[in-house]
């Protein structure tokens, strides 16, 4: 592995880390689309910054672009607050408007610099190592590495310092306000970080893919844990893993690095979405199916308890009486037998003592719906588990 390759992967990893942290809070605040808006509308900020400084690497560019990002958020919120259009509509026209201003500014005035629309949308990570940071003629590494590295450090410091404030204002904005933590300050703080991160990542992965790096790792982590700190850690790891795997996929396919990274993110997300232990699709479907069978079992046992007459409890008439198909009746019957809830004598089904007890408790639970009762049920029976 050459040092350029190493540098590219390092930049990609740092970009992933810088994106995953604000991304986690954006996902929890249900503001994923705001990252899309910010990533596009920073363009006019970059272009204007370039006109003013004539230098593509000036820190003023980052600052102005970040301001443009915050302006987007302010505009979206202002338009939404008038109540004339909904938030998604406001996002939908604010960022293309700002982005298009940037596109026109580039086309009219900056044709001779390497600030072209393709690079803006897709980034070009492979070129990042060519742009060196030279201090007194000493090569200190790729400039992008320093830019994104600083952003990661600042983001981490802010995260650790204001973790408590971020958490409480994300979970319960009103409580945060009454405790003396202005939700507005925290909100715009987060938006500023998201904007600065976007600008920093922009050069490497472009406006479209930076959104994926913010949202996909956080969404994966959300499905894998119930703990905010773990969610942040998992999001960071998911981002870093996609960055490294994505780089090597691009290497072997000879394709765009940013494109490969995002594809890997997509595949990883799909896997998590399907197979996450308790929140994944398969797990959810399995649980629903099991709960459905359990409800059927209970219905069946209630029927047995309600009817002392043998005609209602004859094994051959079961399907007619409770209006179930043959297969369904058999599944439920087998389940009840397996759990020693029923006995069958001469084709007549009766509840066992255990079955009786179970049914009584279940009725108790359903009629009182008392939280205390459920807790005991959860210990004793499989029915009300999770």
């Amino acid at each position: 592995m050459s040092s350029a390759q190493l540098e590219i992967q390092l930049i990609a990893c740092l970009v992933a880390i810088a994106c995953a942290i604000p991304g986690t809070f954006l996902v929890l605040r249900k503001m994923a689309m705001i990252s899309d808006a910010i990533s596009h509308s920073i363009l006019p900020g970059l272009v204007i910054g370039f006109f003013l400084t004539e230098d593509l690497n000036s820190p003023w560019l980052i600052l102005l672009a970040a301001v443009a990002g915050v302006i987007t958020v302010v505009l979206v919120e202002y338009i939404q607050k008038t109540g004339l259009v909904k938030e998604d509509t406001a996002i939908g026209f604010v960022f293309p408007a700002l982005f298009s201003i940037g596109v026109i500014l580039i086309a009219k005035n900056a044709n001779d610099v390497h600030l072209d629309v393709d690079a803006v949308l897709l980034g070009e990570l492979a070129f990042a190592p060519f742009d060196r940071l030279l201090v007194n003629g000493v090569d200190l590494g790729a400039k992008s590495l320093w830019v994104i590295g600083s952003i990661v450090v600042v983001t981490l410091i802010l995260l650790v310092t204001f973790f408590k404030e971020l958490k409480v204002s994300t979970f319960d904005k009103q409580l945060a306000a009454t405790l003396g933590f202005s939700p507005l300050v925290i909100h715009y703080g987060l938006m500023s970080i998201a904007s600065v991160t976007t600008v920093g990542a922009f050069d490497a992965v472009g406006a479209i893919l930076v959104v994926a790096l913010m949202i996909a790792p956080a969404a994966m982590a959300y499905l894998l844990t119930n703990n905010l700190k773990k969610m942040l850690v998992i999001a960071v790891f998911a981002g870093v893993a996609s960055a490294i795997i994505g780089y090597w996929v691009a290497h072997y396919l000879d394709a765009s690095i940013a494109g490969s990274m995002t594809t890997v993110l997509g595949v990883l997300f799909l896997l998590v979405y399907l197979f996450a232990p308790s929140k994944g699709l398969i797990s959810v479907l399995f649980r629903q199916k099991r709960q459905q069978v359990e409800v059927y079992l209970l219905t069946f046992m209630l029927h047995l308890q309600n009817h002392s007459e043998e005609s209602e409890r004859h094994i051959n008439h079961l399907s007619e009486h409770i209006n179930w198909g043959k297969m369904q009746s058999k599944t439920v019957l087998d389940l009840a037998l397996k759990n020693n809830m029923i006995v069958i004598n001469n084709n007549i089904i009766s509840l066992t003592e255990k079955g009786q007890g179970f049914t009584n408790k279940a009725i108790d639970y359903i009629t009182t719906n008392s939280a205390v009762a459920i807790e005991k049920m959860k210990e004793d029976f499989f029915l009300f588990r999770g």
């Binding site: 929890l28 249900k30 109540g83 310092t161 204001f162 973790f163 408590k164 404030e165 958490k167 409480v168 994300t170 979970f171 319960d172 009103q174 409580l175 306000a177 009454t178 405790l179 003396g180 933590f181 959300y222 844990t225 119930n226 703990n227 905010l228 773990k230 969610m231 009182t368 719906n369 008392s370 939280a371 205390v372 459920i374 999770g386």
Partner: protein, 245 residues
């Protein structure tokens, strides 16, 4: 003897998009009462509480907590929002939510430590939720979530408690448990203001009541003013509630 007021509201008017939701409210809540705010839907009950807390800015009037603006007194006030106002799928545990109640006294940056954790565990025990401390909050029933919110207010160790429909969607056991805690708090000299819906239980639960329907209809001791006349004025239809002694 001069009555000490926990909260005084003067000429408070709140409007959403120029439509008044609360109109010229004057209210003086004596210290140490357990007060219900009753009124029909859209009467501005939640808005009144949020205005007292400074979450909503009024277009006129002022609110004082023990004679000073809310911003200077926020440590004296604990708030129990409506259960539906937060996303219970948020990745955190019951204990952690209760700990959030300590953040106000900690202020910016400072992190909660053992002392705060101990206070949170005590509050959880008080509301009968200690065994659920590590449970993810989405795995709690509605009544349990409400108890968590109450515990979070308890750790704030405030003088005034403002609660927005704490009995909404909770089972009978939880309702009893919550009201017992509220009565205990009153005995300890705290002032409690509760948005309440079930008119039948007002005389049993509360000693003070405010009737609200955009304007203030009446406020005072339950035994003096909780009558059909005020109920009819508030709800606009002929109301009959049997008041138990």
């Amino acid at each position: 003897m001069e009555t000490k007021y926990a909260i005084t509201v003067d000429d408070l008017t709140v409007a959403y998009n120029y439509k008044p939701v609360l109109w010229d409210i004057d209210l003086a809540i004596p210290e140490g009462v357990l007060m219900a705010i009753v009124g029909p839907n859209g009467a501005g009950k939640s808005t009144l509480i949020k205005s007292i807390l400074g979450i909503i800015k009024p277009i006129a009037g002022s609110v004082k907590i023990f004679g000073k603006p809310y911003k200077k007194q926020f440590k004296e006030v604990a708030y129990v929002p409506q259960k539906g106002s937060v996303d219970w799928d948020f990745p955190t545990t019951a204990l952690d939510v209760v700990m959030m109640g300590t953040y106000g006294s900690l202020g910016w940056v400072k992190r909660p430590g053992q002392k705060e954790k101990k206070a949170a565990l005590e509050a959880l025990e008080k509301v009968g939720m200690l065994s659920f401390k590590s449970r993810q909050i989405s795995q709690l029933s509605g009544g349990q979530q409400q108890r968590i919110f109450l515990a979070r207010a308890l750790v704030q160790n405030a003088s005034i408690y403002l609660m927005d429909e704490p009995f909404q969607g909770v089972d009978a056991t939880t309702e009893k448990a919550i009201i017992n805690i509220l009565k205990e708090l009153r005995k300890a000299g705290k002032t409690l203001i509760v948005v309440h819906h079930d008119l039948q239980t007002v005389p049993e639960y509360f000693d003070w009541v405010t009737f609200l329907n955009v304007k203030k209809i009446a406020t005072g001791p339950v035994k003096d003013i909780f009558n059909d006349g005020n109920l009819t004025k508030t709800y606009g239809i002929n109301y009959k509630v049997s008041v138990q002694e």
